[in-house]
Symmetry: C2
Subunit: 289 residues, 2 copies
Protein backbone atom coordinates (compact mmCIF):
# COMPACT_ATOMS: atom_id res chain seq x y z
CA UNK A 1 0.00 0.00 0.00
CA UNK A 2 2.92 2.32 0.72
CA UNK A 3 4.10 1.57 -2.84
CA UNK A 4 0.65 2.27 -4.30
CA UNK A 5 0.93 5.69 -2.67
CA UNK A 6 4.48 6.30 -3.94
CA UNK A 7 3.70 5.23 -7.53
CA UNK A 8 0.45 7.14 -7.69
CA UNK A 9 2.18 10.27 -6.44
CA UNK A 10 4.60 9.92 -9.39
CA UNK A 11 1.64 10.25 -11.77
CA UNK A 12 1.18 6.55 -12.57
CA UNK A 13 -2.25 4.97 -12.82
CA UNK A 14 -2.24 2.33 -10.09
CA UNK A 15 -4.33 -0.81 -9.57
CA UNK A 16 -3.99 -2.66 -6.26
CA UNK A 17 -4.90 -6.36 -6.40
CA UNK A 18 -5.29 -7.94 -2.97
CA UNK A 19 -5.71 -11.67 -2.34
CA UNK A 20 -7.48 -11.15 1.00
CA UNK A 21 -11.09 -10.01 1.10
CA UNK A 22 -9.94 -6.54 2.16
CA UNK A 23 -6.89 -4.29 2.08
CA UNK A 24 -4.57 -4.31 5.08
CA UNK A 25 -5.78 -7.59 6.60
CA UNK A 26 -3.28 -7.17 9.45
CA UNK A 27 -5.68 -4.47 10.73
CA UNK A 28 -9.30 -4.91 11.75
CA UNK A 29 -11.94 -4.60 9.07
CA UNK A 30 -13.08 -1.09 10.01
CA UNK A 31 -9.50 0.21 9.89
CA UNK A 32 -8.93 -1.47 6.51
CA UNK A 33 -12.15 0.11 5.22
CA UNK A 34 -10.87 3.60 6.18
CA UNK A 35 -7.73 2.91 4.17
CA UNK A 36 -9.54 1.44 1.16
CA UNK A 37 -11.79 4.52 1.00
CA UNK A 38 -8.70 6.71 1.13
CA UNK A 39 -6.98 4.79 -1.69
CA UNK A 40 -10.09 5.01 -3.87
CA UNK A 41 -10.55 8.73 -3.14
CA UNK A 42 -6.97 9.24 -4.32
CA UNK A 43 -7.74 7.42 -7.58
CA UNK A 44 -6.13 4.04 -6.88
CA UNK A 45 -8.21 1.17 -8.33
CA UNK A 46 -8.60 -1.42 -5.53
CA UNK A 47 -9.71 -5.02 -6.17
CA UNK A 48 -9.88 -7.47 -3.27
CA UNK A 49 -10.30 -11.26 -3.11
CA UNK A 50 -8.14 -11.70 -6.22
CA UNK A 51 -5.78 -14.64 -6.52
CA UNK A 52 -3.31 -14.07 -9.35
CA UNK A 53 -2.58 -17.28 -11.30
CA UNK A 54 -0.22 -15.97 -13.93
CA UNK A 55 1.55 -13.07 -15.57
CA UNK A 56 1.92 -12.95 -19.36
CA UNK A 57 4.00 -10.70 -21.58
CA UNK A 58 1.83 -9.50 -24.47
CA UNK A 59 2.56 -6.89 -27.16
CA UNK A 60 0.28 -4.48 -25.27
CA UNK A 61 2.20 -4.95 -22.01
CA UNK A 62 2.16 -7.27 -19.02
CA UNK A 63 -1.11 -9.05 -18.30
CA UNK A 64 -2.26 -10.39 -14.95
CA UNK A 65 -4.52 -13.41 -14.95
CA UNK A 66 -6.78 -14.83 -12.26
CA UNK A 67 -7.89 -18.21 -13.62
CA UNK A 68 -9.29 -17.55 -17.09
CA UNK A 69 -9.93 -13.88 -16.43
CA UNK A 70 -7.57 -11.13 -17.54
CA UNK A 71 -7.44 -8.59 -14.79
CA UNK A 72 -5.17 -5.75 -15.71
CA UNK A 73 -2.70 -4.75 -18.36
CA UNK A 74 0.28 -2.95 -17.09
CA UNK A 75 3.73 -1.61 -17.98
CA UNK A 76 5.00 -2.46 -14.56
CA UNK A 77 4.00 -4.98 -11.89
CA UNK A 78 5.13 -4.83 -8.30
CA UNK A 79 4.65 -8.06 -6.37
CA UNK A 80 4.35 -8.04 -2.58
CA UNK A 81 3.15 -11.51 -1.69
CA UNK A 82 4.17 -11.71 1.96
CA UNK A 83 7.31 -13.07 3.56
CA UNK A 84 8.50 -16.62 4.29
CA UNK A 85 11.67 -17.46 6.17
CA UNK A 86 14.63 -18.46 4.06
CA UNK A 87 16.05 -21.17 6.31
CA UNK A 88 17.27 -23.85 3.88
CA UNK A 89 20.91 -23.36 4.78
CA UNK A 90 20.13 -23.78 8.47
CA UNK A 91 17.97 -26.87 7.79
CA UNK A 92 20.82 -28.48 5.81
CA UNK A 93 23.14 -27.82 8.72
CA UNK A 94 20.59 -29.64 10.96
CA UNK A 95 19.79 -26.48 12.87
CA UNK A 96 16.35 -26.73 14.44
CA UNK A 97 13.50 -24.87 12.72
CA UNK A 98 10.26 -23.95 14.45
CA UNK A 99 6.70 -24.75 13.37
CA UNK A 100 6.80 -21.38 11.63
CA UNK A 101 9.54 -22.62 9.30
CA UNK A 102 11.92 -20.05 10.73
CA UNK A 103 15.05 -20.83 12.72
CA UNK A 104 14.57 -21.54 16.46
CA UNK A 105 16.64 -19.21 18.62
CA UNK A 106 17.03 -18.59 22.32
CA UNK A 107 17.14 -15.24 24.12
CA UNK A 108 20.77 -14.81 23.02
CA UNK A 109 19.75 -15.39 19.37
CA UNK A 110 21.71 -18.64 19.49
CA UNK A 111 20.41 -21.53 17.33
CA UNK A 112 20.16 -25.18 18.43
CA UNK A 113 23.81 -25.54 17.41
CA UNK A 114 26.27 -24.00 19.83
CA UNK A 115 28.05 -20.86 18.62
CA UNK A 116 25.76 -20.47 15.61
CA UNK A 117 23.47 -17.45 15.81
CA UNK A 118 20.52 -16.38 13.67
CA UNK A 119 18.79 -13.01 13.42
CA UNK A 120 16.33 -11.20 11.19
CA UNK A 121 13.82 -12.52 8.65
CA UNK A 122 15.14 -16.13 8.77
CA UNK A 123 14.64 -16.44 12.54
CA UNK A 124 11.74 -16.63 14.96
CA UNK A 125 10.97 -13.68 17.22
CA UNK A 126 10.24 -13.71 20.93
CA UNK A 127 6.93 -11.98 21.65
CA UNK A 128 7.04 -10.26 25.00
CA UNK A 129 3.28 -10.09 25.64
CA UNK A 130 2.63 -13.84 25.27
CA UNK A 131 6.17 -15.07 26.04
CA UNK A 132 6.17 -17.24 22.91
CA UNK A 133 8.21 -17.40 19.72
CA UNK A 134 6.44 -16.30 16.51
CA UNK A 135 7.42 -15.40 12.97
CA UNK A 136 7.17 -11.60 12.63
CA UNK A 137 9.80 -10.40 10.14
CA UNK A 138 10.36 -6.63 10.43
CA UNK A 139 13.30 -4.30 9.91
CA UNK A 140 13.27 -2.98 13.46
CA UNK A 141 13.40 -6.51 14.87
CA UNK A 142 16.19 -7.55 12.48
CA UNK A 143 18.27 -4.56 13.64
CA UNK A 144 17.79 -5.45 17.30
CA UNK A 145 18.38 -9.17 16.84
CA UNK A 146 21.42 -8.64 14.63
CA UNK A 147 23.08 -6.43 17.22
CA UNK A 148 22.41 -8.95 19.98
CA UNK A 149 23.55 -11.96 17.93
CA UNK A 150 26.72 -10.04 17.02
CA UNK A 151 27.48 -9.07 20.62
CA UNK A 152 27.03 -12.64 21.82
CA UNK A 153 29.02 -14.13 18.91
CA UNK A 154 31.85 -11.76 19.84
CA UNK A 155 31.86 -13.01 23.43
CA UNK A 156 29.46 -10.55 25.05
CA UNK A 157 26.25 -11.32 26.88
CA UNK A 158 23.22 -9.64 25.41
CA UNK A 159 19.57 -10.63 25.67
CA UNK A 160 16.76 -10.02 23.17
CA UNK A 161 13.86 -8.70 25.24
CA UNK A 162 11.25 -9.40 22.57
CA UNK A 163 8.84 -7.54 20.37
CA UNK A 164 5.30 -6.39 21.10
CA UNK A 165 4.18 -6.39 17.45
CA UNK A 166 4.53 -2.74 16.39
CA UNK A 167 4.07 -1.75 12.73
CA UNK A 168 3.27 1.48 10.91
CA UNK A 169 2.56 2.38 7.31
CA UNK A 170 2.08 5.73 5.58
CA UNK A 171 -0.58 5.86 2.86
CA UNK A 172 -0.92 9.26 1.18
CA UNK A 173 -1.66 11.74 3.96
CA UNK A 174 -2.54 9.12 6.54
CA UNK A 175 -0.75 6.70 8.83
CA UNK A 176 -2.03 3.35 10.03
CA UNK A 177 -0.17 1.88 12.98
CA UNK A 178 -0.68 -1.07 15.29
CA UNK A 179 0.98 -2.78 18.20
CA UNK A 180 0.17 -5.83 20.32
CA UNK A 181 -2.77 -8.07 19.49
CA UNK A 182 -6.21 -7.71 17.94
CA UNK A 183 -9.24 -9.62 19.23
CA UNK A 184 -8.88 -12.71 17.07
CA UNK A 185 -5.16 -12.98 17.85
CA UNK A 186 -5.71 -12.37 21.57
CA UNK A 187 -8.32 -15.15 21.72
CA UNK A 188 -5.86 -17.51 20.03
CA UNK A 189 -3.40 -16.84 22.86
CA UNK A 190 -5.90 -17.48 25.61
CA UNK A 191 -7.00 -13.94 26.48
CA UNK A 192 -10.59 -12.75 26.86
CA UNK A 193 -10.27 -9.56 24.85
CA UNK A 194 -12.47 -6.50 24.55
CA UNK A 195 -11.78 -4.01 21.78
CA UNK A 196 -13.34 -0.56 21.82
CA UNK A 197 -13.20 2.42 19.46
CA UNK A 198 -12.77 6.13 19.88
CA UNK A 199 -12.54 8.77 17.22
CA UNK A 200 -11.30 12.02 18.70
CA UNK A 201 -9.55 15.22 17.58
CA UNK A 202 -5.79 14.74 17.63
CA UNK A 203 -5.46 18.03 19.53
CA UNK A 204 -7.73 20.66 21.08
CA UNK A 205 -10.40 21.40 18.46
CA UNK A 206 -10.28 25.16 19.16
CA UNK A 207 -6.70 25.27 17.92
CA UNK A 208 -6.53 25.29 14.08
CA UNK A 209 -5.62 22.16 12.18
CA UNK A 210 -7.19 19.48 14.37
CA UNK A 211 -8.03 16.27 12.51
CA UNK A 212 -9.61 13.10 13.82
CA UNK A 213 -7.64 10.09 14.95
CA UNK A 214 -9.34 6.71 15.14
CA UNK A 215 -8.06 4.41 17.91
CA UNK A 216 -9.09 0.82 18.56
CA UNK A 217 -7.83 -0.40 21.90
CA UNK A 218 -7.70 -4.05 22.98
CA UNK A 219 -7.43 -5.25 26.57
CA UNK A 220 -8.14 -8.39 28.57
CA UNK A 221 -11.56 -8.27 30.26
CA UNK A 222 -10.56 -10.27 33.33
CA UNK A 223 -7.18 -8.84 34.20
CA UNK A 224 -7.54 -5.39 32.60
CA UNK A 225 -4.20 -5.97 30.94
CA UNK A 226 -3.40 -3.88 27.87
CA UNK A 227 -3.11 -6.13 24.82
CA UNK A 228 -2.80 -3.82 21.84
CA UNK A 229 -4.01 -0.91 19.75
CA UNK A 230 -4.66 0.10 16.16
CA UNK A 231 -4.71 3.70 14.98
CA UNK A 232 -5.48 5.53 11.75
CA UNK A 233 -5.02 9.26 11.49
CA UNK A 234 -3.94 12.10 9.28
CA UNK A 235 -1.12 13.79 11.16
CA UNK A 236 1.62 11.36 10.38
CA UNK A 237 3.88 11.45 13.39
CA UNK A 238 0.99 11.89 15.80
CA UNK A 239 -0.21 8.41 14.90
CA UNK A 240 3.13 6.68 14.55
CA UNK A 241 4.66 8.07 17.72
CA UNK A 242 1.37 7.68 19.63
CA UNK A 243 1.35 3.95 18.87
CA UNK A 244 4.79 3.97 20.48
CA UNK A 245 3.28 5.13 23.78
CA UNK A 246 1.21 1.94 23.69
CA UNK A 247 4.28 -0.06 22.61
CA UNK A 248 6.22 1.27 25.61
CA UNK A 249 3.28 0.43 27.87
CA UNK A 250 3.10 -3.12 26.45
CA UNK A 251 6.85 -3.53 27.00
CA UNK A 252 6.30 -2.88 30.71
CA UNK A 253 3.15 -5.04 30.97
CA UNK A 254 0.86 -2.15 31.93
CA UNK A 255 -2.90 -2.37 32.34
CA UNK A 256 -5.36 -0.32 30.30
CA UNK A 257 -6.10 1.71 33.45
CA UNK A 258 -2.40 2.60 33.79
CA UNK A 259 -2.61 4.56 30.53
CA UNK A 260 -4.71 7.14 32.40
CA UNK A 261 -1.84 7.69 34.82
CA UNK A 262 0.85 8.34 32.19
CA UNK A 263 2.23 11.88 32.35
CA UNK A 264 1.92 12.61 28.62
CA UNK A 265 2.84 15.93 27.05
CA UNK A 266 0.17 18.52 26.36
CA UNK A 267 -0.04 21.80 24.60
CA UNK A 268 -3.24 22.74 22.70
CA UNK A 269 -1.76 22.51 19.15
CA UNK A 270 -0.55 18.98 19.80
CA UNK A 271 -2.81 17.14 22.22
CA UNK A 272 -5.46 17.45 24.91
CA UNK A 273 -5.06 17.33 28.71
CA UNK A 274 -6.23 13.74 28.29
CA UNK A 275 -4.31 12.51 25.28
CA UNK A 276 -6.33 10.54 22.67
CA UNK A 277 -4.56 7.41 23.94
CA UNK A 278 -6.03 8.13 27.38
CA UNK A 279 -9.49 8.83 25.93
CA UNK A 280 -9.29 5.40 24.29
CA UNK A 281 -8.41 3.88 27.67
CA UNK A 282 -11.36 5.66 29.38
CA UNK A 283 -13.72 4.38 26.73
CA UNK A 284 -12.39 0.84 27.17
CA UNK A 285 -12.72 0.98 30.96
CA UNK A 286 -16.30 2.29 30.73
CA UNK A 287 -17.29 -0.54 28.40
CA UNK A 288 -15.55 -3.30 30.39
CA UNK A 289 -18.24 -3.44 33.05
Amino acid sequence: MEMADALHQRGLSVTLLEMADRVMPSFDRQMGALLQTLLEEKGVCVKTGIKITGIEQKPSGLTLNAGKETLAESDFILIAAGARPSAELAAKARILLGKTGAICVNEKMETSVKDIYAAGDCAETYHRVIRKYLYMPLGTTAHKQGRIAGENAAGGISIFKGVVGTQSVKIFDRVAARTGFRDEEAIEYGFDPLTTDVETPDHKAYYPGATRIHIRLTGDRKTGRLLGAQMVGRHLAEVSKRIDIIAAALFSGLKVADLLDLDLSYTPPLSSPWDPVQMAAMSWLTQNK
Copy 2:
Protein backbone atom coordinates in the same frame (compact mmCIF):
# COMPACT_ATOMS: atom_id res chain seq x y z
CA MET B 1 6.86 31.95 24.34
CA GLU B 2 3.81 30.23 22.86
CA MET B 3 2.04 33.62 23.12
CA ALA B 4 4.96 35.41 21.43
CA ASP B 5 4.45 33.00 18.54
CA ALA B 6 0.66 33.49 18.45
CA LEU B 7 0.84 37.32 18.60
CA HIS B 8 3.63 37.54 16.05
CA GLN B 9 1.68 35.35 13.66
CA ARG B 10 -1.18 37.84 13.91
CA GLY B 11 1.13 40.53 12.50
CA LEU B 12 2.00 42.25 15.80
CA SER B 13 5.51 43.43 16.56
CA VAL B 14 6.51 41.43 19.64
CA THR B 15 9.15 42.02 22.32
CA LEU B 16 9.83 39.23 24.81
CA LEU B 17 11.29 40.40 28.14
CA GLU B 18 12.65 37.55 30.26
CA MET B 19 13.83 37.92 33.86
CA ALA B 20 16.13 34.89 33.66
CA ASP B 21 19.45 35.11 31.83
CA ARG B 22 17.99 33.09 28.96
CA VAL B 23 14.66 32.12 27.44
CA MET B 24 13.04 28.87 28.53
CA PRO B 25 15.08 28.41 31.73
CA SER B 26 13.21 25.16 32.40
CA PHE B 27 15.32 23.70 29.58
CA ASP B 28 19.11 23.42 29.45
CA ARG B 29 21.04 26.37 28.07
CA GLN B 30 21.74 24.83 24.65
CA MET B 31 18.06 24.03 24.12
CA GLY B 32 17.07 27.56 25.18
CA ALA B 33 19.64 28.95 22.73
CA LEU B 34 18.04 27.01 19.86
CA LEU B 35 14.69 28.58 20.78
CA GLN B 36 16.07 32.10 21.20
CA THR B 37 17.68 31.91 17.75
CA LEU B 38 14.37 30.74 16.32
CA LEU B 39 12.44 33.60 17.96
CA GLU B 40 14.95 36.15 16.66
CA GLU B 41 14.93 34.66 13.15
CA LYS B 42 11.15 35.07 13.15
CA GLY B 43 11.51 38.75 14.11
CA VAL B 44 10.65 38.60 17.82
CA CYS B 45 12.84 41.01 19.85
CA VAL B 46 14.22 39.02 22.80
CA LYS B 47 15.76 40.66 25.88
CA THR B 48 16.94 38.48 28.77
CA GLY B 49 18.00 39.30 32.34
CA ILE B 50 15.37 42.04 32.60
CA LYS B 51 13.50 42.61 35.84
CA ILE B 52 10.43 44.78 35.26
CA THR B 53 9.88 47.29 38.08
CA GLY B 54 6.81 49.09 36.80
CA ILE B 55 4.30 49.68 34.08
CA GLU B 56 3.11 53.21 33.26
CA GLN B 57 0.27 54.46 31.10
CA LYS B 58 1.58 57.29 28.91
CA PRO B 59 -0.12 59.12 26.03
CA SER B 60 2.07 57.12 23.63
CA GLY B 61 0.95 53.83 25.15
CA LEU B 62 2.02 51.50 27.95
CA THR B 63 5.61 51.79 29.12
CA LEU B 64 7.62 49.09 30.82
CA ASN B 65 10.32 50.18 33.24
CA ALA B 66 13.30 48.31 34.66
CA GLY B 67 14.65 50.59 37.37
CA LYS B 68 15.18 54.01 35.75
CA GLU B 69 15.34 52.60 32.23
CA THR B 70 12.37 52.63 29.90
CA LEU B 71 12.37 49.36 28.06
CA ALA B 72 9.52 49.20 25.64
CA GLU B 73 6.41 51.10 24.67
CA SER B 74 3.50 48.93 23.83
CA ASP B 75 -0.22 48.90 23.10
CA PHE B 76 -0.62 45.62 24.85
CA ILE B 77 1.33 43.82 27.59
CA LEU B 78 0.97 40.17 28.39
CA ILE B 79 2.38 39.17 31.76
CA ALA B 80 3.45 35.58 32.43
CA ALA B 81 5.39 35.78 35.67
CA GLY B 82 5.20 32.15 36.80
CA ALA B 83 2.75 30.42 39.09
CA ARG B 84 2.36 30.37 42.86
CA PRO B 85 -0.17 28.24 44.70
CA SER B 86 -3.30 30.00 45.86
CA ALA B 87 -3.74 28.25 49.20
CA GLU B 88 -4.99 31.00 51.55
CA LEU B 89 -8.40 29.42 51.99
CA ALA B 90 -6.79 26.11 52.98
CA ALA B 91 -4.35 27.85 55.35
CA LYS B 92 -7.24 29.66 57.07
CA ALA B 93 -8.96 26.31 57.53
CA ARG B 94 -5.74 25.04 59.18
CA ILE B 95 -5.10 22.60 56.37
CA LEU B 96 -1.41 21.71 56.20
CA LEU B 97 0.67 23.42 53.50
CA GLY B 98 4.01 22.08 52.30
CA LYS B 99 7.35 23.89 52.10
CA THR B 100 6.33 24.75 48.54
CA GLY B 101 3.40 26.81 49.86
CA ALA B 102 0.98 24.43 48.16
CA ILE B 103 -1.49 22.18 49.94
CA CYS B 104 -0.15 18.87 51.26
CA VAL B 105 -2.06 15.91 49.91
CA ASN B 106 -1.78 12.14 50.14
CA GLU B 107 -2.06 9.62 47.30
CA LYS B 108 -5.86 9.97 47.43
CA MET B 109 -5.53 13.77 47.04
CA GLU B 110 -6.88 14.10 50.60
CA THR B 111 -5.58 17.05 52.64
CA SER B 112 -4.52 16.92 56.30
CA VAL B 113 -8.20 17.37 57.20
CA LYS B 114 -10.32 14.26 56.71
CA ASP B 115 -12.80 14.40 53.82
CA ILE B 116 -11.28 17.56 52.39
CA TYR B 117 -9.53 17.04 49.08
CA ALA B 118 -7.31 19.33 47.02
CA ALA B 119 -6.27 19.07 43.39
CA GLY B 120 -4.64 21.17 40.69
CA ASP B 121 -2.53 24.33 40.92
CA CYS B 122 -3.19 24.84 44.67
CA ALA B 123 -1.85 21.39 45.61
CA GLU B 124 1.47 19.61 45.68
CA THR B 125 2.18 16.88 43.15
CA TYR B 126 3.68 13.47 43.78
CA HIS B 127 6.72 12.92 41.56
CA ARG B 128 7.03 9.28 40.61
CA VAL B 129 10.76 9.27 39.80
CA ILE B 130 11.93 10.60 43.18
CA ARG B 131 8.89 9.58 45.26
CA LYS B 132 8.59 13.09 46.71
CA TYR B 133 5.99 15.83 46.65
CA LEU B 134 6.85 18.92 44.57
CA TYR B 135 5.01 21.94 43.19
CA MET B 136 4.54 21.41 39.44
CA PRO B 137 1.29 23.07 38.35
CA LEU B 138 0.20 21.81 34.92
CA GLY B 139 -3.13 21.27 33.18
CA THR B 140 -2.58 17.56 32.63
CA THR B 141 -1.84 17.04 36.32
CA ALA B 142 -4.84 19.09 37.42
CA HIS B 143 -7.11 16.96 35.22
CA LYS B 144 -5.75 13.72 36.71
CA GLN B 145 -5.78 14.95 40.30
CA GLY B 146 -9.27 16.43 39.97
CA ARG B 147 -10.68 13.16 38.72
CA ILE B 148 -9.04 11.22 41.54
CA ALA B 149 -10.09 13.69 44.25
CA GLY B 150 -13.64 13.58 42.88
CA GLU B 151 -13.78 9.79 42.83
CA ASN B 152 -12.51 9.56 46.40
CA ALA B 153 -14.77 12.37 47.66
CA ALA B 154 -17.70 10.43 46.15
CA GLY B 155 -16.75 7.29 48.07
CA GLY B 156 -14.51 5.57 45.54
CA ILE B 157 -10.91 4.54 45.98
CA SER B 158 -8.58 6.05 43.45
CA ILE B 159 -4.84 6.65 43.69
CA PHE B 160 -2.77 9.36 42.02
CA LYS B 161 0.25 7.54 40.60
CA GLY B 162 2.32 10.68 40.18
CA VAL B 163 3.88 12.77 37.46
CA VAL B 164 7.24 12.39 35.77
CA GLY B 165 7.56 16.07 34.80
CA THR B 166 6.40 16.17 31.18
CA GLN B 167 5.92 19.50 29.39
CA SER B 168 5.76 20.63 25.78
CA VAL B 169 5.55 23.97 24.05
CA LYS B 170 5.08 24.93 20.39
CA ILE B 171 7.05 27.94 19.18
CA PHE B 172 6.47 28.81 15.53
CA ASP B 173 7.34 25.68 13.53
CA ARG B 174 9.17 23.98 16.37
CA VAL B 175 8.34 22.06 19.52
CA ALA B 176 10.38 21.90 22.70
CA ALA B 177 9.45 19.13 25.09
CA ARG B 178 10.91 17.69 28.26
CA THR B 179 10.20 15.03 30.82
CA GLY B 180 11.94 13.86 34.00
CA PHE B 181 14.96 15.68 35.37
CA ARG B 182 17.89 17.66 34.00
CA ASP B 183 21.40 17.37 35.45
CA GLU B 184 21.12 20.11 38.06
CA GLU B 185 17.75 18.81 39.26
CA ALA B 186 18.95 15.19 39.30
CA ILE B 187 21.98 16.15 41.44
CA GLU B 188 19.64 17.92 43.87
CA TYR B 189 17.74 14.64 44.31
CA GLY B 190 20.85 12.56 44.95
CA PHE B 191 21.49 11.07 41.51
CA ASP B 192 24.83 11.04 39.69
CA PRO B 193 23.55 12.16 36.30
CA LEU B 194 25.10 12.09 32.86
CA THR B 195 23.44 14.03 30.06
CA THR B 196 24.37 13.44 26.43
CA ASP B 197 23.25 14.98 23.14
CA VAL B 198 22.31 13.63 19.77
CA GLU B 199 21.09 15.51 16.75
CA THR B 200 19.67 13.12 14.20
CA PRO B 201 17.21 13.14 11.27
CA ASP B 202 13.68 12.60 12.53
CA HIS B 203 13.21 9.96 9.81
CA LYS B 204 15.29 8.23 7.14
CA ALA B 205 17.20 10.99 5.36
CA TYR B 206 16.60 9.43 1.92
CA TYR B 207 12.87 10.01 2.31
CA PRO B 208 11.90 13.63 1.54
CA GLY B 209 11.15 16.03 4.37
CA ALA B 210 13.57 14.83 7.04
CA THR B 211 14.53 17.51 9.57
CA ARG B 212 16.84 17.25 12.53
CA ILE B 213 15.68 16.56 16.06
CA HIS B 214 17.92 17.46 18.99
CA ILE B 215 17.64 15.13 22.00
CA ARG B 216 19.37 15.53 25.36
CA LEU B 217 19.06 12.38 27.45
CA THR B 218 19.76 12.20 31.18
CA GLY B 219 20.47 9.00 33.11
CA ASP B 220 22.08 7.96 36.37
CA ARG B 221 25.72 6.89 35.87
CA LYS B 222 25.74 4.26 38.60
CA THR B 223 22.42 2.50 38.11
CA GLY B 224 21.84 3.27 34.41
CA ARG B 225 18.37 4.44 35.34
CA LEU B 226 16.63 6.76 32.90
CA LEU B 227 16.09 10.17 34.51
CA GLY B 228 14.76 12.41 31.76
CA ALA B 229 15.01 13.93 28.31
CA GLN B 230 14.73 17.24 26.49
CA MET B 231 13.93 17.52 22.79
CA VAL B 232 13.70 20.32 20.25
CA GLY B 233 12.57 19.61 16.70
CA ARG B 234 10.61 20.87 13.77
CA HIS B 235 8.00 18.22 13.11
CA LEU B 236 5.60 19.08 15.85
CA ALA B 237 4.04 15.79 16.86
CA GLU B 238 7.25 13.87 16.30
CA VAL B 239 8.79 15.75 19.18
CA SER B 240 5.80 15.94 21.48
CA LYS B 241 4.74 12.32 21.12
CA ARG B 242 8.37 11.13 21.16
CA ILE B 243 8.87 12.74 24.59
CA ASP B 244 5.88 10.62 25.61
CA ILE B 245 7.83 7.44 24.84
CA ILE B 246 10.33 8.62 27.44
CA ALA B 247 7.48 9.62 29.78
CA ALA B 248 6.01 6.11 29.52
CA ALA B 249 9.47 4.63 30.16
CA LEU B 250 9.94 6.86 33.24
CA PHE B 251 6.52 5.82 34.53
CA SER B 252 7.69 2.20 34.53
CA GLY B 253 11.14 2.98 35.99
CA LEU B 254 13.08 1.75 32.93
CA LYS B 255 16.82 2.05 32.45
CA VAL B 256 18.43 3.93 29.57
CA ALA B 257 19.46 0.55 28.09
CA ASP B 258 15.81 -0.59 28.08
CA LEU B 259 15.01 2.10 25.51
CA LEU B 260 17.01 0.07 22.96
CA ASP B 261 14.64 -2.86 23.52
CA LEU B 262 11.41 -0.95 22.92
CA ASP B 263 9.52 -2.16 19.86
CA LEU B 264 8.90 1.29 18.36
CA SER B 265 7.14 1.86 15.05
CA TYR B 266 9.14 2.35 11.89
CA THR B 267 8.42 3.30 8.34
CA PRO B 268 10.95 5.43 6.40
CA PRO B 269 8.83 8.63 6.22
CA LEU B 270 8.39 8.64 9.99
CA SER B 271 11.37 7.14 11.76
CA SER B 272 14.43 4.93 11.44
CA PRO B 273 14.86 1.26 12.41
CA TRP B 274 16.50 2.69 15.51
CA ASP B 275 14.23 5.55 16.50
CA PRO B 276 15.96 8.84 17.44
CA VAL B 277 15.03 8.05 21.07
CA GLN B 278 17.06 4.84 20.76
CA MET B 279 19.97 6.64 19.07
CA ALA B 280 19.99 8.99 22.06
CA ALA B 281 20.12 5.96 24.37
CA MET B 282 23.01 4.40 22.40
CA SER B 283 24.94 7.64 22.60
CA TRP B 284 24.35 7.83 26.37
CA LEU B 285 25.44 4.22 26.92
CA THR B 286 28.61 4.73 24.88
CA GLN B 287 29.55 7.79 26.90
CA ASN B 288 28.76 6.26 30.31
CA LYS B 289 31.94 4.16 30.39
